[in-house]
């Protein structure tokens, strides 16, 4: 049984979401604000979180950051705002996915489930310049042994690109592999995560040498 945290200030939406997820067999914790949500998460250790962006008190962005600072829990933002700036900022603050209101409930369910049942990756250990990536242990280590922190989505993105040994993966390939979308989703998801990953693994994120863009095709990992 999976445990889901719903942070949403609109009572009706929160109740409806609770009903829906309970109906689908989830254990649901819900919170009307970011503060309550973070406290609840720290107590219940939910498996996945749904966060609204416009919240009273601390914002949805801050809530995501607070959750991310202590855990790799998959976070799905559910927001009425769909401007690119919001989407990017939401993903930058640590969310893994972004759904715009009003959403198709089945789609939200599918996304939440996809985040919960990430298949183990088939990639073996490999090195990226000074970095050692060990998928079995789920860690990335620097030469001097310091562990680099990647979220599960970032790790998945990196190992999936590694598993195709230098081939190019299109944005939709990546959405399917990493996010488990069975149809073309929002390519901004991929772009923002790639950027975040570059910040962590590239010596010079502005001129990537490992995680490179292939014009008109997608991304590839140069090993």
């Amino acid at each position: 049984m999976s445990r889901i945290l719903i942070v949403e200030d609109d009572d009706h939406i929160r109740s409806a979401l609770r009903l829906m997820f309970e109906g689908e067999g989830f254990d649901v914790d819900d919170a009307p604000s970011g503060e309550v949500g973070v406290a609840l998460f720290n107590r219940m250790r939910s498996d996945v979180a749904i966060v609204d962006l416009m919240l009273p008190g601390i914002s949805g962005f801050d809530t995501c950051q607070a959750l991310r600072s202590t855990s790799d829990v998959p976070i799905v933002i559910v927001s009425a705002r769909d401007e690119t700036a919001d989407v990017v900022l939401g993903l930058e603050s640590g969310a893994d996915d972004y759904v715009t209101k009003p959403f198709v409930p089945a789609e939200l369910l599918a996304r939440v489930r996809a985040h919960l049942r990430r298949r183990p990756t088939s990639a073996g250990a490999f090195t990226l310049g000074r970095l050692q990536v060990i998928p079995d242990e789920g860690v990335v280590r620097d030469q001097d042994g310091t562990e680099l922190h990647l979220t599960s989505t970032e790790f998945r993105l990196l190992t999936d690109l590694a598993s195709v040994s230098g081939r190019v993966l299109s944005r939709e390939d990546l959405l399917e592999r990493v996010w488990g979308y069975d149809y073309f989703g929002d390519s901004r998801l991929v772009d923002v995560h790639i950027r975040r990953l570059r910040m962590k693994i590239e010596p010079d994120p502005a001129n990537p040498t490992f995680l490179v863009t292939v014009r008109g095709a997608g991304y590839k990992l140069v090993l």
Partner: protein, 463 residues
Amino acid sequence: MHRRSLRLRLLITFGVGALLLSSLFASLTYFSVQRLLVDNQQQTDLRESFANAALVRSTLYSSPPALGALLNSIEAATNSSVLVHTHHQWLSTSHGAATSDVSAEIVHAVDNGKVLHQTISRRGKLIFIVGVPIPAVETQVFEVFRLERLEHSLKILGLVLGLGALVTSVIGLGGGLWVSRRAVRPLLNVSSAAAAIADGELTTRLLVGQADQEVQQLTESFNTMVSRLVARMERDARFASDVSHELRSPLTTLTTTVSVLQQHRDELSPVGRESLDLLAADLSIFQSLVDDLLEIARSDAGSLEHVIEIVPVAELVRQSARSAAQRLGIPEVPVEISDAARELSVGVDRRRFERVMANLLGNAAHYAGGAIVVRVDAADSHVTVDVDDAGPGVPIDERESIFQRFFRGRAAHDRSLARGTGLGLALVRDHVAAFGGTIVVHESPEGGARFHIELPRREGAVE
């Protein structure tokens, strides 16, 4: 309707006005001066004639043989010829005189004892004839003055006045040109500003500056009008956007709740199930409507941010067509890329281009039995994307209106089951325009509808 040019009319009015006025003044001047000069001349000539007649009389009394010499000396002094008539015949004349100048009637009239003077034309020249009777000796003295010098003066006067009138007319024409330019310029400014505003440059205003007072009023009222209209448009657009946005929360509750009900579908009675299906179906239309309305309202308000990326058109169209088909749950449509278009790029917002493809393919699926093929080709400076369907085509009179909001064509009426939002194609046109492109519909060679998109070619790398 025959439209006349205001400038031309002003110009003609000024030109003709100046010509008429100057001609009138020139003529008045000419005739008054002519009259004055002629009167003067005649008075002088008349007095002279009397004096000369007195001389003739005294000569006739004292020494008649000296008459000829006298007449010649008078002619020499006054440049007029003198003729003396007595007892029905010419007694004597000066050298330059011609008896034919003095008609029989004149002679007869003077013979009756009347002093007579008149101006007549002889051989194309004006002459002034004065006849003075000397009844005591039954003699008549005639003096013929030639008016050549007067005529010459008048000719010069006429010439000068005519020239003056001509110059005045030309100046009037020039003035007309200047005035018409000046008068029409603000109108031209207003018209070009209005055109710019109509083209969507809503920040266009007229310059309030060195304009004349009346024009300044026009400028100010024009600017005020535009500002108010723009404010009104923005308010309307914001309102639509706000409304759609506010609809999102309750709509989210509705769709989620309906999905919960659907989880419990089996527990419902048949009536409940049927009602739920109806509710679910219309809710999804409602959701699309709110989505489209919000998008259109934003586009109107100018707050629709397009993230324009330069992308290879082949990849763009293939992916968009595929994902649109998957999202809509319709069969995938073959995409044909011509060799010429294979390497070309266009500048679009990916998500919105996908929306464009989804709306076109969805429309085809709803109203025209589905799209058959999507073709990408290259033209001069742009890339074309054609979406052909297998339907009956779009009637010629609907080919433009089909892109209007909430337009319901015959196809939509025919199929009550296929219900769209009525905003799909309007949104398509808005988006394509935002990419700097155009979209039209015409007939495909197979007889169906062909939606033809043209997008400008773009150079540059993708990131």
